[in-house]
């Protein structure tokens, strides 16, 4: 299963189960995510992709009914350990959501918010520096350089999503979780974001949920296929798309269901 067995996994999931009340949403999931790779999570709606993603930065804590069991580690540290502070965890694990959700504040403040609350900049100059590099890396700087004071909500959908990515990387996370980041974008904006994901791989590890098979094929190195809460198959993206082992995967890839 492992892509490069020599490297220790960045994220290691072992026998992860998630219940929402009585609903068993994620069943016995084992998955390793390695540094500097893009892992795509695919599968039909409601199969638990988002649930798995939200385990990694403990966003499931927000859901009163959610209960997570199993072992989930980030660089060997148990994410669900009592001693772990979620605030610090989320500084290491950034997240980009399905619908672009910039704060109704200026473009600058959107990106600066994370560094501010984590005390990452000692003075304004450092903060400016962080904001500029983040916008640059998100490929947005050229478009917004002279309107940093305008509200983030005034940007187009694709720009908003890149702003959200800039906002996430401003905190210098190690891992970025993306939950269907392009599902609300038009094809051109989608292409820009996909390019960006490829560039970001150099510095970050990325887990991306996607509904688009082509997208998974384009941006990811490894792909995991979920079905009804179970991880059916995981492997190199090329292998999953050309030579799926499991009949369910095969069916989904060829569009027979989903």
């Amino acid at each position: 299963m492992s892509h490069s067995p020599s490297l220790p996994a960045k994220v290691r999931a072992r026998d992860i189960n998630v219940h929402y009340g009585d609903k068993h949403a994620l069943k016995h999931v084992d998955l390793d995510i390695h540094a500097h790779e893009v892992v795509a999570l695919i599968g039909p709606s409601g199969c638990g992709k988002s649930t798995f993603l939200r385990c990694i930065n403990r966003m499931n804590d927000q859901v009163d009914s959610a209960r997570v069991t199993g072992l989930l580690t980030l660089d060997g540290d148990d994410i669900y350990d009592r001693a772990v502070d979620v605030v610090q965890l989320r500084a290491r694990v950034g997240m980009v959501f399905q619908k672009p959700n910039p704060f109704p504040k200026s473009i600058f403040d959107n990106v600066a918010y994370g560094p501010r609350i984590h005390g990452m900049a000692r003075d304004q100059a450092e903060l400016d520096e962080i904001v500029m590099t983040s916008l640059e890396r998100a490929g947005l700087l050229a478009e917004v350089r002279d309107r940093l004071d305008e509200p983030g909500t005034s940007l187009s959908g694709g720009q908003q999503q890149r702003l959200c990515i800039a906002r996430a990387i401003a905190v210098s996370p190690e891992l970025i979780l993306m939950d269907e980041p392009c599902s609300a974008l038009d094809p051109i904006a989608t292409a820009r974001v996909e390019e960006l994901i490829d560039e970001l791989r150099e510095n970050f590890t990325i887990v991306i949920v996607t509904h688009s098979m082509q997208q998974a094929a384009r941006v990811s190195q490894r792909t995991a296929f979920f079905h009804l809460g179970e991880l059916v198959e995981v492997g190199d993206t090329e292998q999953i798309f050309t030579n799926p082992q499991h009949p369910l995967t095969q069916g989904y890839i060829t569009g027979r269901f989903g």
Partner: protein, 424 residues
């Protein structure tokens, strides 16, 4: 479905049946619109009648009749502070033919018993007046005022006429000489309550209302917002919070007089706070406002899209940071609108304030929230209860002041909402 091949008919052309159906649908829609419009016009009509009665009754209260007499500021009466005496001598000098005591008393009754305050004010402003004779406009009595304004008939013997034939004669004489005038009624806007209608003012009640509302705001706004934020953002959703929610909704429906009794029992009897004071009034009104603010606050917090919370949480903001940096600022216009509407409601409350003794007759203008005071709605209640004809127009004037306050607060709420309205 009159056709032989029902599927074809349904698919291709509307049958006669269908056309009739469409007509009926349009007719029903038209009827509904007509009923709605009718209801609105009825409501507007009643509102117009209400406003028209109040304004037409109350407008004349903003004018007051004054009579000019030549007052001699002789050193003797100034030294003895006998300004009434000075006024009376001035009147007797104006009508030298009046000699009997009874007649003189009637003559003096043309002017208000409080007319002397004007003289006192003139003298303190300019002490050099002593020894001179000056024409002075003095407040007429309420009966004269009513007669001049035409609210009471000036026909001798007509019903409601409280002036004697002699008084009417003098008044006619004064008018003919051009020494009777209606002037803007500053007394109404600047003094406290009085038994004499021509000396009674709203200012005491306005100040009392402002003090009460400030106390209400100071107490209920932070408490209400904190409660709303806790319940909406922090509290676990369980049976206890559900119970609390139901009870808050119930509190909003509790008759306000019950809150007045609660205030009487707790603030006055148990804590020993001063009676009739805006402090206690404000606290009681705060109790009444609280459920409204909490409910409005929760609605405003709920309206903030969850995606904003997720965005902030995903960046590693603590729950308190999420609330302080994002949710609360976004919900604030809604919370403030709710608060202002709650306060506007509190402004008009009368019954609970009667319970804590704010119905007392208070002449002085309160200097602090601890002084006994009236509030506007109670002032309306008190004046409406007074027998003098001149209080009728003053009651309407007080209602106008109250409505003005309400209008201003509602306008503030609308402006706030417009200014901070956000779309995402």
């Amino acid at each position: 479905m009159t056709d032989n091949s029902p599927t074809a008919a349904a698919a291709h052309r509307p049958s006669l049946d269908a056309a009739a159906h469409v007509r009926r649908r349009y007719a029903a829609e038209r009827r509904f619109k007509a009923i709605g419009l009718g209801a609105i016009f009825l409501a507007l009509g009643f509102l117009a009648i209400l406003l028209w009665t109040i304004v037409s009754n109350g407008l004349s209260a903003f004018m007051q009749t004054y009579i000019r007499v030549d007052v001699r500021f002789d050193a003797e009466s100034v030294a003895g502070e006998d300004y009434q005496g000075a006024i009376k001598s001035a009147l007797y000098a104006r009508f030298p033919a009046v000699e009997s005591r009874g007649e003189r008393r009637e003559l003096a009754a043309l002017l208000s018993s409080g007319a002397d305050t004007a003289l006192r004010r003139m003298l303190t402003a300019d002490p050099s007046l002593v020894g001179t004779t000056k024409p002075v406009w003095l407040v007429a009595s309420d009966d004269v005022d009513m007669a001049i304004k035409g609210h009471i008939s000036r026909q001798p013997g007509a019903s409601g006429n409280r002036l004697t034939d002699r008084q009417l004669g003098w008044l006619g004489e004064l008018e003919a000489a051009g020494t009777v005038e209606k002037r803007f009624n500053t007394i109404l806007l600047s003094s406290g309550d009085s038994r004499e209608p021509e000396l009674a003012g709203l200012w005491g009640a306005v100040v009392g209302s402002v003090f009460s509302l400030v106390i209400t705001l100071i107490v209920s706004f932070p408490l209400g917002v904190a409660t709303a934020v806790y319940l909406e953002e922090f509290a676990p959703k369980n049976r206890w919070t559900a119970l609390i929610e139901v009870n808050i909704n119930n509190l909003a429906a509790v008759p306000s007089v019950v809150f007045g009794l609660l205030g009487l029992a707790i603030f006055l009897n148990f804590l020993g706070m001063p009676r009739s004071a805006p402090l206690v009034g404000g606290l009681v009104l705060a109790l009444i406002c609280l459920p409204t603010i909490i409910i409005a606050g929760r609605a405003a917090l709920k309206a903030v899209p969850p995606s904003i919370r997720e965005a902030a949480l995903g960046l590693g903001a603590s729950r308190l940071q999420v609330v302080n940096d994002h949710v609360l600022p976004l919900a604030m216009p809604g919370i403030m609108t709710g608060t202002i509407l709650g306060m506007a409601h509190a402004l008009g409350e009368t019954a609970p304030l009667l319970m804590i003794g704010m119905v007392a007759f208070i002449v002085d203008i309160p200097a602090s929230p601890l002084d006994p005071s009236a509030v506007l709605p109670v002032q309306v209640y008190l004046w409406a209860d007074s027998p003098e004809r001149a209080f009728v127009e003053r009651t309407s004037a007080a209602i106008m002041a109250l409505l003005l306050f309400l209008g201003a607060m509602n306008l503030a709420a609308i402006l706030l909402r417009k200014k901070f309205e956000r779309r995402w």
